[in-house]
């Protein structure tokens, strides 16, 4: 049954000489899948505690078999994902697909996914919890607090208190490993539906 389903999927008809750029969306889904797999593996060893976070990342790259590979894959793929989503948007912009009625909400969704990719990178780069990560988190919190009206409250929610602390690290980990992946999953499902409706470029 799997075999026939796979065969049906592989032999589905496509238009001749279809541009490879049509596959940027699929490429983004593939990269997201790589991120999910490598991220789940990294979560087996990562400890979201200020005293242990940096050491556990060192253990992953230094001691665990193939740990350097899994972490590099996770790191590089994350950045590649941002590039692919940006290329996707650039293509949609140049083709002016957002002018089509079905294309408008698809455009909004794609921009949302771009911001999500940036949020993934921001939270993920803070997880090693070294000096750079700490100060970057402080800056991110200050950025969030600059949002009108809700900013102060949002920054407190992000930090888990008035200061960046160990609670912040747990929240970063929860956002990066739980909240954002589910958001991205839902977004990609929606994108698939929009694409079938002819909206997604």
């Amino acid at each position: 049954m799997i075999g026939s389903a796979l065969r049906a999927w592989m032999s589905r008809p496509t238009a001749p000489r279809e541009s490879l750029l049509r596959d940027l969306g699929r490429l983004a889904v593939l990269l997201f899948g790589v991120e999910v797999v490598t991220g789940s593996l990294l979560a087996l060893y990562y400890e979201p505690v200020p005293e242990a976070a940096y050491r556990s990342v060192g253990t992953i790259t230094g001691t665990v078999t193939l740990g350097w590979l899994v972490r590099s894959l996770h790191h590089v793929t994350g950045h590649a994902l941002l590039v692919v989503v940006a290329l996707f948007l650039a293509r949609a912009f140049l083709l002016r697909s957002f002018l089509r009625p079905a294309g408008r909400r698809a455009w909004v969704l794609a921009v949302g996914l771009l911001f999500l990719a940036i949020a993934f990178l921001m939270t993920g780069s803070a997880l090693p919890w070294d000096q750079e990560a700490y100060w970057r988190t402080v800056i991110t919190a200050n950025l969030v607090s600059g949002i009108p009206l809700l900013g102060g409250w949002l920054a407190d929610v992000f930090r888990g208190g008035p200061e960046v602390s160990g609670t912040t690290l747990v929240r970063l980990f929860a956002l990066h490993g739980l909240v954002f992946p589910w958001l991205a999953f839902g977004g990609l499902l929606l994108a698939r539906r929009f694409r079938r409706q002819g909206g997604m470029p």
Binding site: S4, A5, L6, R7, A8, W9, M10, S11, R12, P13, A15, P16, V37, L41, L44, T59, G62, T63, V64, T65, L66, G67, L69, V70
Partner: protein, 241 residues
Amino acid sequence: MGTFPGPQEPLPSRLQRGTGHNIRASNPPIPMPASIWVFDPRLTREEATALLCSLSERGLQAEIREIPSGLVAVVEEAPPDLRPPPGVLRSSTVDLPPGLSRRRFLDAFASSLAAGVLLSGAGGAALFASPPTPRRDDVEEVVVGTAAEIRARGSKRFRFGREPCVVVAAGDRFHALSTVCSHLGCLVRWTPGSSQLECPCHRAVFDLEGNVLEGPPPRPLRTYPVKVDGGRVVVGRRTAP
């Protein structure tokens, strides 16, 4: 449109070549039913492709070929209840000799490539998930073997955590040394004849205390304290760096 041969007549050679079936197979042919569909000549290739969409949902293979009078589709392994879609003027079922079509070859190639990638990924993930061997600093002591055994052999290689080491019996004492050369990390060898450890890479020579006798290494070899405990040789953690 032109005439199209019926089921009993031989297929045009162009069609046989186009489907890629090996008609000169040396094995006795096992017939494979295939449906030949002749499309309305007004249809374009894209429209004909679109008509074949329902086939791939059923897991069937179809290839579109151009013949002088229009387009035909060859549906491999067509089940008896298969009805041609509208736009097909005429259909007939023939038995094709088995063989490896280009499509099947590409299918098999892509499937095995995907399976290889998935399997190696799963293998790597399993390696990653299995708990790592502790580092040198996490190990307290290692029981290398019995004193009698090591005296009889003269030396025995072992690992202190991840570090490859050797324990050497000299007189009534035991010496435990790392075999990682302090120069560029090659593995040194204990040579019983000269009672020295020699590095094969750059001809460095160390004595049993780890001191450099010859060659480029900047530091002595790493040594470990050894004690004999109830007839067993136990190598302990190094106190000085």
